[in-house]
Symmetry: C2
Subunit: 458 residues, 2 copies
């Protein structure tokens, strides 16, 4: 039977099986669900076997096991390392779900339930694509290594150790990840760029103790005001970050790429509706999409100090704090940017206060050479699988794992996302579009088939 016909014939079976997966409340952050997480790991292992994978391991970790399986019977063909996760976010607040989080339900062409989009639905797409290949070809026509973790929603605490310990065994020609989103409904997408992320915490100390604002007000340094004054000076009126050297290493984006990004069917109106602010703002000289994807930014993510309760307290606090982050683009160096930001903040502060500056994390930006043949094959597979034009997109967020894997294995990473930005990944009524789920299975199967039949090495 033809690959696509086979996949079409399994629609009901696949959907029912996904529902089974979704009914397991594998909430990794809630200890009462530990047995459910364990159960989900075994479920994944079973389906790996059904897809033709071997050497299946449920590898114990500090918290929740990582499930691994492989099929390496296609000499001379490419080897793909797939990554996904089987754990899910908590379902609370339960009362905001239209139908219960762990009772998957179809409405309006969408499957609702915790984990549908993030990431069980997407993991299932790959397992079913592999199974379809195995059952139509007779065996898996390329080499695959499948790694599905159970700790993604608690920060992938063991993943990196696992990768390091199995580094030579995990070697592959490409990495495929399905944990991102499409640009919009009906627009299959490959994400080829992510911003890096540095996260900082600042503590400003003025007086050594909280002071009465009547007795002391007017003659002492107020750490809140001073922190606010420093923050205010981090952007100029054109919304450019004023940290000296901040833009020095930013890789230019070609006019062609900018044109491509700006011509995407990206819905500004929908973006504005999601934000809901009276108006948008951003760096002068760049479009909204460019501000989000190809420009570095600095944001304050939190601020606190003094009295935050009901009513009034006449205090000049001893301390004030802020959390800041910078999103980085190629070729900014996270360590250098952290140093520049610290230097500038220290320079902006008067001598009346002291400052503790902590770098909580740094993370590199990532961009893939999307002219590489594997990306062309992927985009073609998406277009065939969905019967729609597919696009290359970038994202403003960060997936540290992708950067780490890319740095470790020096191979292309293909981010095939079948979620959608409005699918409530971490909120009530999470869902996945059935069109994307079924289209995803076809696309992935076609992609792997094409990889197996094309030239290799690429």
């Amino acid at each position: 039977m033809d690959l696509i016909d086979y996949i079409d014939s399994k629609r009901e079976d696949n959907l029912n099986e996904l529902k089974e997966f979704l009914r397991i409340p594998s909430v990794s952050t809630q200890s009462e669900h530990k047995p459910d997480v364990e159960r989900a790991a075994h479920w994944v292992a079973d389906k790996m076997a059904a897809a033709g994978l071997e050497n299946i391991k449920i590898a114990p970790t500090k918290m929740h096991p990582l499930v691994y399986g492989e099929s390496l019977h296609a000499p001379g063909k490419p080897t793909i390392l797939f990554y996904g996760h089987y754990d899910v976010q908590p379902a609370e607040p339960l009362e905001l779900w239209t139908t219960p989080a762990f009772e998957p339900t179809v409405r309006d062409g969408k499957l609702f339930g915790r984990g549908t989009a993030d990431d069980k639905g997407q993991v299932h797409i790959h397992l079913k694509a592999l199974e379809a290949l195995k059952n139509t070809v007779g065996k898996l026509p390329l080499n695959v290594k499948v790694m599905v973790e159970g700790e993604e929603e608690v920060g992938s605490v063991s993943l990196w150790d696992f990768v390091q310990q199995n580094r030579s065994h995990l070697k592959a020609d490409a990495l495929v990840v399905s944990d991102t989103s499409m640009l919009a409904k009906g627009v299959p997408s490959i994400t080829y760029g992510l911003r890096g992320l540095n996260y900082y915490e600042i503590e400003i100390t003025g007086p050594i103790q909280d002071l009465h604002s009547g007795v002391f007000g007017g003659a002492v340094p107020n750490p809140i005001t001073i922190l606010a004054e420093a923050i205010a000076k981090l952007h100029d009126k054109d919304f450019r970050v004023t940290v000296p050297g901040f833009y020095d290493d930013v890789a230019p984006v070609s006019p062609k790429e900018r044109k491509l990004l700006n011509s995407l069917p990206w819905k500004e109106k929908e973006f504005r509706r999601t934000v809901g602010a009276p108006d948008l703002c951003g760096e002068k000289g760049f479009t909204i999409v460019e501000r989000l994807w190809i420009r570095p930014t600095l944001d304050v993510n939190g601020i606190w100090g003094g009295y935050m309760g009901e009513g009034a307290k006449t205090v000049i606090p001893s301390k004030a704090w802020a959390k800041l982050s910078t999103r980085l683009v190629p070729n900014q160096n996270p360590a250098r940017i952290a140093k520049l930001v610290e230097q500038q903040i220290r320079k902006l502060l008067p001598k009346t206060v002291t400052c503790k500056f902590k770098v909580l994390s740094t993370g590199k930006p990532w961009v893939a050479p999307y002219s590489h043949p594997i990306f062309q094959k992927a985009i073609h597979a998406l277009e065939t699988g969905f019967g729609k034009k597919a696009v290359f997109i970038r994202e403003g967020g960060s997936i540290p794992f992708v950067t780490q894997m890319h740095d470790t294995f020096k191979v292309p990473c293909v981010l095939l996302g079948f979620g959608m930005p409005d699918e409530n990944a971490h909120a009530p009524d999470e869902h996945i579009s059935l069109e994307n789920y079924f289209g995803g299975i076809k696309s992935v199967a076609l992609f792997y088939q094409d990889l197996a039949s094309g030239n290799f090495p690429f």
Copy 2:
């Protein structure tokens, strides 16, 4: 017997009686102490009787009774309305007291215990001064009305109602309050000026929901940054408040008064030590004392928004908040200042956000005409009672009751403070200097004697 000899002869008796008062844990904010508060009210009533007062009432209120007594048998002589309070702050944290909070103990010429300075010790000074006058003169030589409340530490919730309901009965020629501090050890003081206080809360809304700082950062208004930018613009580089019109109505302070304030034995070194910041700052062109007492200020008392927990959360929050206050000086109008501050903040905000501006409270500044004869008599009494030079001081804080009483009765208010700034009024190891306690009794007795023997009307 001479008044001063009599008071000296009663040193031990008075101190023991004060200790008795201090042993009653009349903590007004802790409901388990309600019977103790009641007991303290009765104790005050008894001592009022011993001081020669009549028509003593333990007036019930919403929470804790107000004790009132009077002696009106000196026709043609001035009538004084005295105010103090018999309730105290909680003693917690108990483990930080050197000796238990409610077991008063003398060490190093100081009496330690909760309420010694704030305000039982000071109330007792007045009761003992009146008793001394009665017992040496034979009767109270002037008219006195004594009002001692039990709710000061919970915000004087019933005081103002009581005053309004008994307005005509409470009429007096002067108000005397002992609930403030001396400038420093050995410097008896009369406070003749207080700043007013307006308190505001600002809520800035940008996006209608919290957003992911990766997905949205760079293209949306961040309410924290925008709030910080507005706060930063509220002062210029000379620490002047930039709100247009803010200084318009500020009453000039004469060069003579400024000189007087600046020549006070005010300890800058000690002030700097208490603040403990790397350096001080404040409005250009004014000394520290002037910045604290005669200049209006604007301070941020609290700020919050976004993620304030441990570690990192990549959020651009929907909202950010700040609490602000302005300290006001004569002749600033609180309602006008509130309007000006709101106008300026709204003007400073970009159109990308909305703002809720709430005025939580307004309060007028107060300054007494200290050349009025009653102040001269008070300062003279302090100098005789203490055998030391006494001074007129102002304070940066606010006592709304003083302003309200002054506005209601239009009579001089004499703030005779026998506490000291470092006596831990609301902290463990609260104490009063015995020199101030005994000197206070003499000074108040001499003050009342002088008022009774001098010209009247003033």
